[in-house]
C-alpha cells in the first residue's frame, strides 16, 4: 500500500506540474498533429494507398511524439535538482520509476486520445475499434516502460535530446513493428484471431520491458 501511495504521489505531482505548464503535452501534441496533417497531404487521395501506409504514419507519429514527451520526464527533477530530494526520501528507487512511468503513460494517452480522431477524420479510417484501443494501450505501456528508463539515463548527459532517441528507438523497434502490423490488420477489417499473434508479441515485450526496466532503474539512478 505504501509503495502504491508514494508512487501515486510522484505521478500526481508530475500531472499537477504538467497541468500548470503544459510543456510536455502541448509540444508533443502539436508535433503529432503536424505529422498527421503533413502525411495526409503528402499521400493524397487514394484510399487503398492510405490504408496501406496509415498504420506506419500513425506509429511514426506516436513514437516521435512519445520521444518528445519522454525527453521531458526527468528534466524538471534535474533542472530543479529535485532528483536528489527524491533519492534522499525514504522510498525505494523503484517508486520513482513507477511514478514517473505512470505520469508519462498518462501524457502519451492524452496525446493519443486527441490525435486519433484527427487521424480518423483526415485518413477516413475506422480507428475507433476495440482492437485499435487495445493495440494502442499495449504499445504505449511498452513504450513508456523502457522510455522512462532511458529518459533517466539520458537526463545526466549533455545532449539528452539526441541521446534518448538514439538509445531508445532501436530497443523499442519490436514494439513499433508489432503495433504497425497489428494496426494494419485492424484497420483493414482483420479479426481478433488475425491480430492475436501481434497482440501476444506486444504483451510479451511489455512484460519483459517492465520487469527489466524496473530491476535496472536502481542502477541507472544511483550514479
Amino acid at each position: 500500500m505504501s509503495f502504491l501511495r508514494k508512487t501515486m504521489a510522484i505521478t500526481r505531482k508530475d500531472v499537477l506540474s504538467e497541468a500548470r505548464t503544459r510543456e510536455i503535452i502541448f509540444s508533443a501534441l502539436l508535433f503529432a498533429l503536424l505529422v498527421i496533417v503533413t502525411f495526409n497531404f503528402a499521400f493524397g487521395a487514394g484510399q487503398a494507398e492510405l490504408a496501406l501506409v496509415a498504420p506506419g504514419i500513425l506509429w511514426v507519429t506516436f513514437s516521435f511524439a512519445g520521444v518528445l514527451s519522454l525527453n521531458r520526464a526527468f528534466v524538471p527533477e534535474k533542472e530543479e535538482n529535485c532528483l536528489e530530494g527524491l533519492m534522499a526520501s525514504p522510498i525505494p528507487r523503484e517508486v520513482i520509476y513507477v511514478g514517473k512511468m505512470l505520469a508519462s503513460f498518462l501524457f502519451m494517452i492524452v496525446i493519443e486520445i486527441i490525435s486519433l480522431p484527427v487521424f480518423a477524420l483526415l485518413f477516413d479510417l475506422p480507428v475507433f475499434s476495440g482492437q485499435l484501443v487495445l493495440i494502442t494501450f499495449l504499445a504505449t505501456v511498452g513504450f513508456v516502460a523502457v522510455g522512462t528508463l532511458f529518459a533517466a539515463l539520458a537526463v545526466n548527459t549533455k545532449a539528452r535530446e539526441m541521446v534518448l532517441p538514439i538509445l531508445f528507438l532501436p530497443v523499442v523497434v519490436p514494439i513499433i513493428i508489432s503495433a504497425v502490423k497489428a494496426s494494419g490488420l485492424a484497420l483493414t477489417g482483420g479479426s481478433w484471431g488475425d491480430i492475436g499473434n501481434w497482440l501476444g508479441i506486444l504483451g510479451a515485450f511489455d512484460a519483459i520491458f517492465l520487469v527489466v526496466s524496473y530491476w535496472v532503474f536502481n542502477f541507472v539512478i544511483e550514479e
Binding site: 508514494k6 499537477l16 506540474s17 536528489e84 534522499a88 525514504p90 522510498i91 525505494p92 550514479e223
Partner: protein, 248 residues
C-alpha cells in the same frame, strides 16, 4: 530479515559513524578514508575549500550516493541494509532546495509529507510554514519566491518528518541574516530535542557559532579535528590555512 525489521550494527551512542569511507569518480579519489563519529545531539561542522569532498560526504551520509568503499552507520543502522530507515531519520538541507517551482509551497510540502508518511500533514505544514515565516505565502508558487524564501521553505521541507539527524551542506547560501536565525532556531526546535547535526560551510565564524566540534577536510581526508570550545576564530583561520593551503 522481515519487512520493517532493520539490522542494528551498533547500539552505541553514535548518531553517525563512518569507517574508511572512500569515493572515486572516474579514477579520481574525492574521499580518501573518512572516519568520523557524531554523538547523538552533537553538532559537527566540516570546513574545507571547494573540491575538498564536503558535498560528496554529505550525499553519501544522506544515502543519495554510494561510497566506493567503507561503511557508515546512522543511529546504529547500516546504510547497506537499512537505507530507507536511515533516510526516514535524516533531514537534508543543501544549497539546492529540492523544491518544484511550478507547485505552490503547500503542494511541495504536501508532496514530501506523502513520501515521508508524515501524520497530520496539514497541521505539520502550517506549523512549519509559521516557523519559517511563510504562512502567508503557502499557496503561492515556489517559482515566484526569492532565493531566501525558497531556502526557508527548504528548511521546512527538511524538518517535516521530525528528523533526528540533520545534514546541512552550505545551507546558508542565499540566506539573509533573518533566515540564518530561523535556521538556527528551527534546528533547536526539532521535536524539543536537539538533533545531531553535520554541517558543511565556508563561513568559519558561523560554523564556530553553530557547532560543538569542528573538522577540516582537505584533499579528501580529515586533516584537523578540535572541540569548538578549544579554539577561537583566529586559531581556526591559522589551522585552516595550514591544512588547506588556502590563504584567508
Amino acid at each position: 530479515m522481515a519487512a520493517g525489521e532493520h539490522k542494528v550494527m551498533d547500539e552505541g551512542t553514535w548518531a553517525i559513524e563512518t569507517k574508511g569511507l572512500t569515493k572515486s569518480f572516474s579514477g579520481h579519489r574525492v574521499l580518501r578514508g573518512i572516519d568520523i563519529r557524531v554523538a547523538r545531539g552533537e553538532s559537527v561542522v566540516i570546513f574545507g575549500p571547494n573540491g575538498a569532498g564536503k558535498t560528496t560526504l554529505i550525499k553519501i551520509l544522506a544515502t543519495i550516493m554510494n561510497p566506493t568503499s567503507g561503511v557508515f552507520l546512522v543511529n546504529g543502522l547500516s546504510a547497506r541494509d537499512s537505507a530507507e530507515a536511515i533516510r526516514r531519520s535524516i533531514g537534508v538541507i543543501t544549497h539546492q532546495t529540492y523544491l518544484y517551482g511550478t507547485l505552490t509551497a503547500h503542494e511541495n510540502l504536501e508532496f514530501y509529507c506523502r513520501l515521508y508518511d508524515v501524520p497530520d500533514p496539514e497541521d505539520r505544514i502550517e506549523e512549519l510554514a509559521a516557523l519559517v515565516g511563510l504562512a502567508s505565502r503557502l499557496h503561492d508558487r515556489v517559482g515566484t519566491f526569492s532565493r531566501g524564501m525558497q531556502q526557508r521553505l527548504s528548511i521546512a521541507r527538511a524538518l517535516l518528518h521530525h528528523p533526528s539527524v540533520m545534514l546541512l551542506d552550505e545551507p546558508e547560501t542565499g540566506l539573509d541574516q533573518q533566515a540564518v536565525m530561523i535556521l538556527r532556531d528551527a534546528l533547536r526546535a526539532v521535536t524539543g530535542q536537539r538533533p545531531s547535526i553535520v554541517l558543511t560551510t565556508h563561513n568559519l565564524e558561523r560554523g564556530l557559532e553553530l557547532s560543538d566540534r569542528l573538522l577540516i577536510l582537505a584533499q579528501g581526508k580529515i586533516a584537523y579535528e578540535r572541540p569548538t570550545r578549544a579554539i577561537d576564530l583566529a586559531g581556526l583561520r591559522e589551522a585552516y590555512c595550514e591544512c588547506t593551503g588556502v590563504r584567508l
